[in-house]
């Protein structure tokens, strides 16, 4: 496919990645609920059924059949791309992802493989109910055999999905519906598929390393702007992939800044932030202040906007977290030996 650059929304970029894969890889199939004739409840798959016919089809509301069907087709040579409309719905069929797809290659010593791509989306939005608001990347990051990413930009909506489809292992691409129809951005199309894994420095800085991913990136960048105005230079690292997790990139940055803040929309307790912090601390990279995690507190996600605003981390919550790492701390966090 010839390289070109076009102004696209995040949803359009994902659509372009799917269109390219269906055009370039004859083994690809695309199926899920309402994704073919309706073009997806968010319009991400619009037009693909028209262009590619029966390789793009609608399914019953049967997540186990969708995921198991993808695995079985992959075992015999197809490269299915399926949609789970909301990440919350993956919990009715998590067996197929964790007990089935993740085991295929390892247990068969590579005789069998399951090159499937699972597209889903997550996150809270004003009015969204507790069963449509969770951020569940922890569940996938914890499972060896899976790969998981959370594109935050239109370019990554295209690049990470393309990398996922070309990967020979089961990969879950967790999009965010709040990003789908935002501002258009220049998106480079047609480049060679990138690797699986790798973080990106979205904003260089010297004082504090701010690690984030998914929709939270944009709140992190807002926070970094505000902090710059206050004279605090923040390096914003977008992890992009949660499995594999590019902890080297985090350590490199923290080695420079000595301060670490991790911000995600998922619940703080057992969120991937804990893994980021621990990977730095156990590596011995020195921290001059206790690391701080930003995430949803221990509640379910309420629907009312005023309540959601109180639990979903905002830019100002991130600002406060960063400030805590730069204010001199009374206790020495760690004495050298």
């Amino acid at each position: 496919m010839p390289e070109e650059t076009r102004k696209l929304t995040y949803a359009q970029a994902a659509n372009e990645a799917l269109r390219r894969a269906l055009a370039e890889i004859p083994e690809t199939l695309l199926f899920g609920e309402d994704i073919a004739i309706p073009g997806g409840v968010f319009g991400v798959t619009k037009g693909l059924q028209k262009s590619f016919g029966d390789r793009v089809f609608d399914t019953p509301i049967s997540e186990s059949a969708i995921l198991g069907g993808a695995i079985g087709a992959a075992l015999v040579g197809r490269r299915p791309i399926v949609e789970i409309m909301w990440v919350d719905f993956s919990l009715v069929a998590l067996d197929q992802i964790v007990n089935q797809a993740a085991n295929v290659r390892y247990v068969s010593q590579g005789k069998l493989t399951a090159p499937i791509t699972i597209r889903t989306q997550q996150g809270a939005g004003p009015g969204s109910c507790a069963q449509h608001s969770q951020s569940l990347e922890t569940f996938f990051a914890h499972v060896p055999g899976l790969q998981a990413c959370m594109p935050a930009t239109a370019q990554d909506a295209y690049d990470l999905l393309t990398a996922a489809i070309h990967s020979d292992d089961p990969t879950i691409v967790i999009e965010n519906r709040n990003l789908y129809h935002g501002e258009k951005a220049e998106v480079r199309l047609g480049a060679a598929p990138g690797p699986v894994g790798g973080a990106a420095v979205r904003r260089p800085g010297d004082d504090v390393t701010l690690v984030t991913w998914g929709a939270m990136l944009h709140r992190a960048l807002e926070a970094a702007d505000e902090l710059a105005a206050q004279g605090v230079s923040v390096e914003v690292l977008d992890m992009r992939w949660l499995r594999p997790l590019d902890t080297d990139a985090v350590k490199r940055s923290v080695a420079k800044t000595g301060r670490l803040v991790v911000a995600h929309e998922a619940h703080r307790f057992m969120g991937v932030g804990a893994e980021v912090v621990t990977s730095v601390v156990e590596s011995g990279v020195p921290l001059v202040a206790p690391p701080v995690r930003v995430g949803a507190p221990d509640v379910r996600i309420p629907a009312a906007p005023t309540l959601q605003a109180a639990v979903i981390p905002s830019a100002s919550v991130i600002v406060d977290a960063v400030r805590r790492t730069v204010q001199p701390v009374a206790t020495l966090v760690q004495q050298g030996v």
């Binding site: 969204s128 069963q131 629907a303």
Partner: protein, 322 residues
Amino acid sequence: MRDRVQDVDELARHLATMLRIRFFEEEIRRLRAEGAVVGSVHLCNGQEAIYVGTCAALDLPTDVVFPTYRGHGWAIACGASLDAMFGELLGRTSGLNGGRGGSAYLSDPEHGMYGENSIVGAGAPIATGAALASTFDGSGRVAVAAFGDGAVNQGSVHEAMNFASIRRLPVLFVIENNRYSELTPTAAMVTSDRLFKRSSAYGIPGVRIDGNDVAIVRDTVAEAARRARAGDGPVVIEAMTERIVGHYIGDVESYREPGELDRALEQEPIVRLSRVLESAGMTGDELDALRDKVRAEVADASARALEAPLADPSTVMEHLYA
């Protein structure tokens, strides 16, 4: 055979409840357009007879219902306060759940409405569990699991029906068949669209009824509930209806056939029941008066709800655990 006059009075009450639901949904649509209500909202216009007929046949709140995200009509038919319903969708402290549930996940157990469910099919095993409890607590409770035609393909519905059948549990599986699974015709997602027949796999009786005729729904559910209470086990009731609005507010409904909606509008339950009542002697003026009364009731409730304070963030950490 019911006393005809008495039945007419009862049908008039049913019409009032259906109008209450319809006007509520219309007001929600207006509030959503204004931005006072936010997020994804599933209206139930056209399906009111199922809710009103079913609840009329139940002994709430001893009996309990477990509907879906398309549950505003169920809540109102159960007797939920309009003020609390508006409050919930408007995210007010006055909401049924203080704004925590929202449009798609609200509950009102005091009235036997045990909660919407936004996971397709998930309410079926839960309703089955409430019926399981009836076999131990002597309450005589009947549980209603309500879900759509698309939900029959979800594994949890299958497991619930089998579980209920072997223990002969007093649970009614009410399929609100509006022919669409969101934006996809359900006929394309099943080999036979006579969904009530799936019950035979479990040895459960299944019936298909006109879900737009409130009296038929009421009488069918009454008989099924009597049977269930007597220990004869679950029943599957496929109530045929039409959703005369989009799947959610904003749905462009490009999946509709030309003329489909117009036909549906002639058969929708409020039009149908109004015709019945007219032929039973109710005058156009009486019907208009009823309509106006209910419309005013709904408008007042909406206005009061808009006065209530927004849900208070300082309470957001409460009630996670006992």
